[in-house]
Symmetry: C2
Subunit: 265 residues, 2 copies
């Protein structure tokens, strides 16, 4: 089975796909070797690793090289978080997705943010057409920021999220990602009403993977959580090292790190 077919099948349920978000080849290899059935990127974490803020400012060639490096060493399907597609011109977004597919990804995340839903639907249509021409059954995960960016009044959010899920499904999306929908009852209603597999973002206060699975959720994303876990540890280790140069804690902390020379050699 191709990586694309495998990745679609991982969303078929009833098991939830617990998807970790990497940012470079080392983090992606670690996640796959730890048992991840697929690996995603986090657009924010990739941008940070290369010295850019989140928000459509990462140079696309930098993104493509990062995806190539990850795909080169990854034995499981790769899906790329590409923010809003780094453009509001559907044709330009389609060009970027052609390069993303060329780099080895079989899925994308594409977020609407504060843009008009109709523009987002046109981007999805353009991306679907480009992927089909490239011969790839791309998993297009349409992210709506109805909750994350509080796009409408709270009492209208649920209906707006469902409306957008239907709009994006009609445009060719394969999944719907609704970050910051955190409450169990709401998540269950969204999973039941959405015409696409539902993706939830891991976050403090969100139900566990097992609970989400019983609510009908098909995919959980760690987003920037794993990057932050690594860089919080780096922050502590750096402060200790600069204060004393004492290598003890570093060496001890390093005991659990993978042997990347063996992994990549």
């Amino acid at each position: 089975m191709s990586h694309a077919a495998t990745f679609h099948a991982l969303h078929a349920g009833p098991d939830i796909l617990v998807l970790p978000n990497a940012w470079d080849a080392a983090s992606a290899a670690l996640m796959a070797d730890a048992g991840a059935k697929a690996v995603a990127t986090s657009s924010a974490a990739v941008a940070w690793a290369h010295g850019y803020a989140d928000g459509d400012v990462l140079p696309v060639p930098t993104l493509i090289r990062a995806l190539e490096e990850i795909a080169r060493i990854l034995p499981v399907p790769l899906t790329a978080d590409i923010e809003g597609g780094y453009s509001d011109d559907p044709g330009t977004v389609a060009d970027t997705v052609r390069a993303v597919i060329g780099a080895g990804a079989v899925g994308i995340n594409l977020e609407d943010g504060r843009r008009a839903p109709d523009l987002h639907a046109r981007k999805i249509e353009a991306v679907r057409e480009a992927a089909t021409k490239a011969g790839v059954d791309l998993f297009i995960n349409a992210r709506t920021d109805v909750y994350l960016a509080q796009l409408v009044a709270p009492d209208l959010a649920e209906a707006e999220a469902i409306r957008r899920a239907r709009l994006y499904a009609g445009a060719g999306a394969s999944g719907i990602f609704i970050p910051f929908a955190n409450e169990a009852a709401l998540i269950g209603r969204l999973a039941a009403a959405a015409p696409l597999p539902l993706n939830i973002m891991s976050f403090a206060g969100v139900p566990t993977a097992a609970q989400l699975q019983t609510l009908g959720v098909r995919r959980l994303s760690s987003a920037t959580g794993l990057f932050k876990a690594a860089f919080a540890a780096l922050q502590s280790a750096t402060q200790a090292y600069l204060a004393s140069g004492d290598p003890g804690p570093l060496a001890a902390a390093g005991t659990g790190a993978p042997n990347f020379n063996a992994r990549f050699g």
Copy 2:
């Protein structure tokens, strides 16, 4: 004062330079913001981040782009670990160093490994000439692997390390790096006999920075220690996430991570 002059001055003593080794823009920014007076790269950690093993196999264009990304956001001097120069032709190594300088680094680490010391000296001469022509007082840190690679019988190692330090100094090196010389008495003798500022590698069993300073050491390197601290934490967090999807520990661990959107925005 230029970054190059600042970096040379940081080796003038008596204070030891506690130098952390980064691998990407995020880790380098974190280290500078934590108070590092300069930041180095670790060639092994840079290779791993891009999916390659250590040992002169990282594509040079990948190295140069990583250095450019780090230098773009770094407010302190940057020195680049370039393994053995990715070639045994001195002219080719000089070409690479011209690109390293162009990327924004004001220092390099260049290791002899199992190569003939005379070849290493010729590389240093070629690099010094290229840097001088580029108008940069490059800090050339000559690394000798006499101890790390056990190049000679144990009772000959100290004399061989000193012989090489003198040879490399004569070829134009600015500092001498002797990893795996871990014992305090030995380190003190090496610091006294070497004609160049001595750099020691942080490692389990190596004296603390304060002790190394009293022994006459001028620079301490974390090598891959900080990378390993971050990726050991990532390993634990990934295993916990894949097992339960429980976002609690991730969110908690992320509390100490820097705000890279604010840092790079």
